[in-house]
Amino acid sequence: MDFEFTEEQRLLKETVDRFTAAEYDFEQRNQYAKERGGWSPAVWRRFAELGLLGLPFSESHGGFGRGPVELMIVMEAFGRALVLEPYFSTIVLGGSALRRALSPDLQAALIPQVVAGEMILGFAWMERQSRYNHADVKTTAKKDGAGWRLSGEKTLVLHGDSADKLIVTARVSGAQRDRKGIGVFLVDAKAEGVERRGYPTQDGLRAAEIAFNNVRLEDIDLIAAPEQGDAFVERMIDEAMAALCAEAVGVMSVMQETTVEYLKTRQQFGRPIGQFQALQHRAVDMLIALEQARSMAMFATMMVEEENATERRRAMCAAKAQIGRSGRKIGEEAIQLHGGIGMTMEYKVGHYFKRMTMLDRQFGDAEFHIAALADMGGLISA
C-alpha cells in the first residue's frame, strides 16, 4: 500500500502545476474561452510540447505508455485550473477507445496525430432518451457492402463541435436497450451526412447535438465489434469516471481553499469572519467532504485497471457517487460562505461551483450511482 508518487510522477505534477500557474490563471482562462470553439489551440500545442497528449499511448505510437496515476495527476491539475481544452474527450475518452481499437492500421494512423496535437476527438454516445444508460441506443449502423451506413441522433457530445473525429455508438442488432449488438465506430466529423450544432454548456465548455444521416463508413472505422461493444464502452466510461473524479477533486480543493482564505480575510463585526465558530465548523465539514472525495478518487484510480469488470464498476460507482455528494456540499457551502461575491460572474468561485455541478452530471450523477451500486449488492458482501 502506497499513496505516494514516483519521482517521475512528481516531475509530471510539477510540470503541469507550473504550466497552469503561468499560463492558465482565471484571467487567461477567460481569454481562452473567447476563442473559436471555446478553447485555445495555442494551449493545446503547449500540451503537446509538454508531452501531456501522449501520456496514455504506447511508445510505439509516439506516446509515453503512462497509466491512470499520471492521468489523475493531470486531471486534478486541470480541475484546479478549470481547463477548457478537450483533453478529457480526446485523451481520456478518445485514448481509451483508440488504445483498444480493432484495427492496428487505424491506431498507427491516428494515435500519432492525437499525440502531436493535430486531432481532436469526441465521444457521441448519449441520445435524447438514454439518460445515463449507454446501452440505450437507437442510432443504427447497417452493413452496406464493404462498409456501413450510420443513421441517428446523438446529444450532449462534449466538444463535439471541435472534434475532427467522433467515436459513435450504434446499434447493429437487437432491441433498443439490449446490451448486445452495439458497435462502436469512428466517424469523420466532416463526412457527408454529419450535421453538428455546437453550443456552450453551463460551465463554459462546449458540446454539440449531432445528426448522422446515412453516413458512409468503411470496415476499418469499426473500432469495437458488436459482440464486444458493450464491454468496450463500459471500460471507456469506467476510465472516464476515474478521470472525472480526479478533475472534480481539483475543482473541489480550489473551492475549499478559496473559502478558507476568504474566511481569514473578510472582516465583519470588526474581525475576520473565520473567527466565528458557526463558520469554522462549516469550513471543517467542507474539508472532510474533500478528503473523503480525494480518498475515493484515489480508490478509483487504483481500481480502474482491475480486470474484473464488476469489481471495477462497483469501485467507479462508489467513487463517482462520493464525488457527486462531496462536490455538491462543497460547492453550495463555498457560495454560501462567500456571501454575495460568490454569486458573481466576475469572481472565480462560482465558476468552480458550476463546473462541479456539471461534472456530477457526466456519466451518471450521485443518485444514479448509488442506485447502481445498490443493484450490484453494495461494496461489502453479506
Partner: protein, 399 residues
C-alpha cells in the same frame, strides 16, 4: 501509488483473522455481534487471551510487551479484531494509563503497574470528566492537598465507564489552585478500595449501567502514586488523548455491522419480498457503504503518512476519522432499527445473566433500539465531534 499489500502484510492479516476467530470464545464474539451486554469476565477473558499471545499491548514500548508493528500491521490488527467482533483489550488500561506510565512513570511504577495493566490484573477506570468539566476539561475542580506523605483528594468525577468493575482509577486532580487552570493539574493513581470513595451508577437511556459517578471524600493517596511531576498532569492528559487515533474510525466494526444488516434484511420480509430488495432501503445502505469505503481509504492514507511523522505526534487529520467514523457507526445503528421495524418496541431489562424475559419478536430485534440509543455516545465521548471540528479548524485550516 497502489493498493496492494506486501505478502508479509497479507500473511499477517491472515494470522490476525485466524487468531481472533479461533482463539477468542465464540460466545463472547456472539454477544458483541448481537449488541448484548458483556460481563466483567467476558472482557477479562478476551483480554487475557490476547495478552498471552502478546497481542494486548502491541503498540507499547518493546520492553513492556510492545511488538514494534508497522502502521499497516496495527491497522490489520484492529480491523480484523473489529470484524471478528472481539472486544478490544480494555482501552483504559492499554491505550490510556499504560502508555502514560510507560512514558512518564518512575521505575517502581512501571515495574509494578505495567505487567498488571497489560494482563488486566488491575482494571483501571478513567477519572477525567467532572460535572463542571466536560469539553472544558481543564476547569476540573477535584482537589488533592499534600499532607504528610499523602494527597488528600476531595471532589467528584463523572461518566466513569465501568467504574463498578475497576480496581484502580487514574485521575486528573488540582494540586495548585492558584496556578492557571492547565498548570495546576496532576495525574494520580488511586486504589478504588481506599476509604472515602463512593461509586454511584448512572443508568444510560438504553437502560445500560456502564457509567458512574465517583465521589472522593477525604481520600488519602500515597504520594508515590503521583505519575511524573506534580502540576504537569495536563501534559500527560494531552499525551493520553492523542494516543491511538487511527483506530478511532472503527471501520471494522461498521463493516461487520453492515454485513449483519444485509443478512438480517435478507430474512425480514416486506410483503412478498425480503427487505434487502426494497429500493429505498438498499440505496440508503449503499450510501453508507460508500462513505465507509471513503473513510477506510482516508484512514489508510493517514496510516501511510504516519511513516513520515515524528513518533507520538498524531496527525490532526485523525479528527476526521473520529467525526466520520462516529457518524457512520451511528448511521448503521439507524439502519439496524430500520431492519427490525416495529420489533424495536419491547423494552427488556438486561442483566449480567442475560435477558429477564423470553424474547418478543425475532431474537435479533432486542438489541436494535438499545444499541441505537447507546451509540449516540460515540459522537460525544473522546472529545465531542464539535471539539474535533474546533481542532481541525485551528490545526489544519488555520482559522
Amino acid at each position: 501509488m497502489d493498493l496492494t499489500f506486501t505478502p508479509e502484510e497479507l500473511a499477517f492479516r491472515e494470522k490476525a483473522r485466524q487468531f481472533f476467530r479461533t482463539e477468542i470464545p465464540q460466545a463472547i464474539r456472539d454477544k458483541v455481534a448481537e449488541g448484548r451486554h458483556l460481563s466483567r469476565e467476558d472482557i477479562v477473558t478476551a483480554h487475557r487471551i490476547m495478552n498471552a499471545h502478546g497481542w494486548a499491548v502491541p503498540h507499547w514500548p518493546r520492553e513492556w510487551g510492545g511488538q514494534d508493528w508497522s502502521p499497516v500491521q496495527i491497522y490489520f490488527y484492529q480491523d480484523e479484531m473489529q470484524q471478528a467482533c472481539v472486544p478490544p483489550p480494555l482501552p483504559f488500561n492499554v491505550n490510556m494509563v499504560g502508555p502514560v506510565i510507560a512514558a512518564f512513570g518512575n521505575e517502581a511504577q512501571k515495574n509494578y503497574f505495567l505487567p498488571k495493566i497489560a494482563n488486566i490484573d488491575i482494571w483501571f477506570c478513567q477519572g477525567f470528566s467532572e460535572p463542571g468539566a466536560g469539553s472544558d476539561l481543564a476547569s476540573l475542580r477535584t482537589s488533592a492537598k499534600r499532607v504528610n506523605g499523602y494527597y488528600v483528594v476531595n471532589g467528584q468525577k463523572t461518566w466513569t465507564t465501568l467504574a463498578q468493575y475497576a480496581d484502580w482509577i487514574f485521575c486528573l486532580v488540582r494540586t495548585d489552585p492558584s496556578a492557571k487552570k492547565q498548570e495546576g493539574i496532576s495525574f494520580l493513581l488511586i486504589d478504588m478500595k481506599t476509604p472515602g470513595i463512593t461509586v454511584r451508577p448512572i443508568q444510560t437511556i438504553d437502560g445500560g449501567r456502564e457509567i458512574n459517578e465517583v465521589f472522593f471524600d477525604e481520600v488519602k493517596v500515597p504520594v508515590e502514586n503521583l505519575v511524573g511531576e506534580e502540576n504537569k498532569g495536563w501534559d500527560y492528559a494531552k499525551f493520553l488523548l492523542s494516543n491511538e487515533r487511527t483506530g478511532i474510525a472503527r471501520v471494522g466494526i461498521s463493516k461487520e455491522r453492515i454485513r449483519r444488516i444485509k443478512q438480517l434484511a435478507a430474512v425480514e420480509r416486506v410483503g412478498d419480498s425480503p427487505l434487502i430488495e426494497d429500493r429505498r432501503f438498499r440505496e440508503k445502505l449503499a450510501a453508507v457503504e460508500i462513505e465507509l469505503k471513503a473513510l477506510e481509504m482516508t484512514q489508510l492514507r493517514i496510516v501511510a503518512a504516519e511513516r513520515n511523522r515524528p513518533k507520538g505526534k498524531p496527525d490532526p487529520a485523525s479528527s476526521i476519522l473520529k467525526i466520520k467514523g462516529s457518524e457512520i457507526q451511528q448511521a448503521t445503528t439507524e439502519l439496524l432499527m430500520d431492519v427490525v421495524g416495529p420489533y424495536v418496541l419491547p423494552y427488556r431489562e438486561e442483566r449480567e445473566d442475560g435477558w429477564n424475559e423470553p424474547p418478543i419478536g425475532p431474537d435479533y430485534a432486542a438489541a436494535a433500539a438499545p444499541t441505537y440509543f447507546n451509540w449516540r455516545k460515540i459522537s460525544i465521548y473522546g472529545g465531542s465531534n464539535e471539539i474535533q471540528r474546533n481542532i481541525l479548524a485551528k490545526a489544519i485550516l488555520g482559522l
